[in-house]
């Protein structure tokens, strides 16, 4: 059963973003981690780097693929989840909570508006799984 986080917004590329004041937290969706299977490494950016919306900010390696992660909104990285270095499997177990990737200071919070809601993203995943 694919999990969804109601408080998050999603991209077409299966990244999620949750806001907390003027900062936002990024991660990948439960559907994404399930498709990737066992995650063996997450290459995170450095604190202080800035990314534009849709720019690659991280790379996830699983036993079967290496995938890029795209910034859902623009901003500067203020914190990274260093727990992922020693235990990248957290992303498989808790993609929406302990498996977060980075915290970002948003440069334009209005970019959140054209992201998918949980409901809309659920529909996207439903379509994708039906195609299979």
């Amino acid at each position: 059963m694919v999990r969804f986080e109601d408080t998050a917004r999603y991209t077409e590329t299966h990244d999620w973003v949750k806001t907390d004041g003027d900062t936002a937290v990024f991660g990948i969706s439960d559907f994404a981690q399930d498709q990737l299977s066992d995650i063996v490494f997450v290459e995170l950016p450095e604190v202080g780097n800035t990314y534009e919306k849709r720019e690659v900010y991280a790379v996830v390696e699983s036993v079967k693929a290496a995938s890029d992660c795209y910034a859902p909104v623009s901003g500067e990285v203020v914190e990274i989840n260093s727990e992922l270095e020693s235990d990248p499997g957290i992303v498989n177990r808790e993609p929406y909570s302990d498996g977060w990737f980075v915290r970002v200071r948003m440069s334009d919070p209005s970019e959140l508006e054209d992201l998918r809601t949980a409901e809309s993203y659920r529909e996207l995943v439903r379509q994708l799984t039906e195609e299979e």
Partner: protein
């Protein structure tokens, strides 16, 4: 399967399609006199006759068994223990392609793993890949990895003028179109210490060679200062090293190298006609996921038994596609195996002995040449190669040595115009005292 040639009808249809009637019409642009010339060839020979003729031709080549060789400049004449040839001649190893399926390839994978481990021991690095084509391509991969480590955001590469000119040329070829600019190697007056001043926040890496192309060993203080200058701006410090010299010199890890590359030919591989060679590539753990090439790893199977597999393959092009650091997935497995067999046969003590013999013989030769009237050795600290300023043109010196049956040093003028009247001599453990003395006598004679 039967070979079916074109029928007459096929030919007519094709000729009609291009608007001519005969095949000869297609050759009209070739002048009549050379269209079907009479070739004045000798009569056909039998197999024993042709073998004798080819052997006579081959005998007119000079080889290292019959002529003292003082030529190095990137390819080095070292003794190859018989066991090396024996190991690489086993048919399990010399198949046309390297099998990577672990269930049927444990021997090959273990051999690669042991090669990698030996390269790590030599360089002091944490991880070595399964090898590249040669020292030049390994250096180019180091530049590309440095660029990739900074996610393509740093376009500047600072490289010493004393890095092998062919390696620099190869690196420039590899990075063309990537927006990378290589600087630091154009100005003959720029010292190694000054090179560090070119390193800034836009620099992906700083590249030096130890011993450098002209044989010199940079001071530890200079090397450590360069490493510190690179690290201060998070640039990588790349060292191209001669593996034999590492029998005597400090592993580059000890003076701050982040990547160590080099030509593996001196380790049990024939000089040949410039190849096949083998480039080694080693780096620190933090850069392993950006490294190019195959990587063999040691693991345990479901029964807990030791086994070998390819690992971290998600770095590679067949999985990461256009996002991979490099599109090189292949390696020089048989040459890497020769290097591993060589290092195993020599052992740490043997390698040190070879390096020390090279060092002392080269210094004996350099000292005696420097004492000759008109000759001047320009190198300060050096390993087994040194630059000699000659009293006459290098062409005359070279011709004189060849006339006396001696393979002379390398003419550096094409790459280093400031050293126009200089030869780069190399002395290895295979040069006997008699050979060195004959070189000295010949040089005295020619001056």
């Amino acid at each position: 399967m039967t070979y079916v040639p074109h029928t007459d009808q096929d030919r007519q249809e094709m000729l009609a399609a291009v608007g001519v009637t005969r095949v000869e019409d297609l050759l009209q642009d070739v002048p009549e006199s050379v269209r079907f010339p009479r070739l004045d060839l000798p009569r056909p020979l039998s197999e024993p006759e042709i073998l004798a003729e080819m052997a006579a031709l081959a005998d007119s080549n000079w080889d290292l068994d019959h002529h003292p060789c003082f030529l190095g400049a990137g390819a080095y004449n070292h003794f190859i223990p018989s066991v090396v040839k024996h190991v690489v001649s086993r048919s399990e190893f010399y198949t046309a392609y390297t099998p990577y399926q672990p269930e049927v390839s444990q021997g090959t994978l273990q051999a690669i793993f042991e090669y990698q481990s030996l390269i790590c021991d030599l360089t002091g690095m944490d991880a070595a890949n399964a090898s590249h084509y040669d020292g030049a391509t390994a250096l180019a991969e180091a530049v590309i990895m440095s660029h990739s480590t900074h996610r393509g955001r740093r376009a500047k590469v600072v490289v010493s003028r004393t890095v092998n000119p062919q390696y620099r040329e190869t690196a420039r070829t590899y990075v063309q179109g990537m927006g990378i600019t290589m600087v630091g190697d154009q100005d003959p007056d720029l010292s190694l210490a000054q090179l560090g001043d070119l390193v800034d926040e836009e620099t992906a890496c700083l590249v030096v060679q130890v011993p450098d192309f002209l044989g010199a060993i940079p001071s530890q203080a200079d090397l450590q200062a360069l490493a510190a200058q690179a690290h201060a701006v998070k640039a990588l410090f790349v060292v191209s090293a001669n593996p034999i010299s590492l029998g005597l010199l400090k592993p580059p890890a000890e003076y701050g190298a982040d990547v160590v590359v080099g030509e593996g030919q001196p380790l049990g591989n024939q000089i040949g006609f410039g190849g096949p060679y083998v480039g080694f590539f080693a780096t620190r753990t933090e850069y392993v996921r950006r490294m190019a090439g195959r990587l063999a790893g040691m693991t345990t199977d479901v029964e807990g038994k030791r086994g070998f597999v390819l690992t971290l393959a998600t770095r590679e092009q067949h999985i990461r596609r256009e996002r991979a650091t490099s599109n090189i997935c292949t390696n020089q497995a048989l040459n890497a195996l020769a290097a591993a067999a060589y290092l195993s046969a020599m052992g740490p003590h043997g390698l040190r002995t070879v390096a020390a013999a090279c060092y002392h013989k080269a210094h004996y030769a350099a000292s005696a040449i420097n004492d000759l009237a008109g000759y001047q050795v320009l190198s300060g600290d050096f390993f087994h190669e040194f630059v000699v300023r000659c009293p006459r043109s290098v062409r005359e010196i070279t011709t004189g040595l060849l006339e006396r049956g001696i393979i002379p040093g390398y003419q550096v003028e094409a790459e280093y115009p400031e050293l126009g009247d200089c030869l780069l001599f190399c002395v290895t453990e295979l040069n006997s005292r008699e050979q060195i003395d004959s070189l000295i006598a010949a040089l005295r004679d020619i001056a």
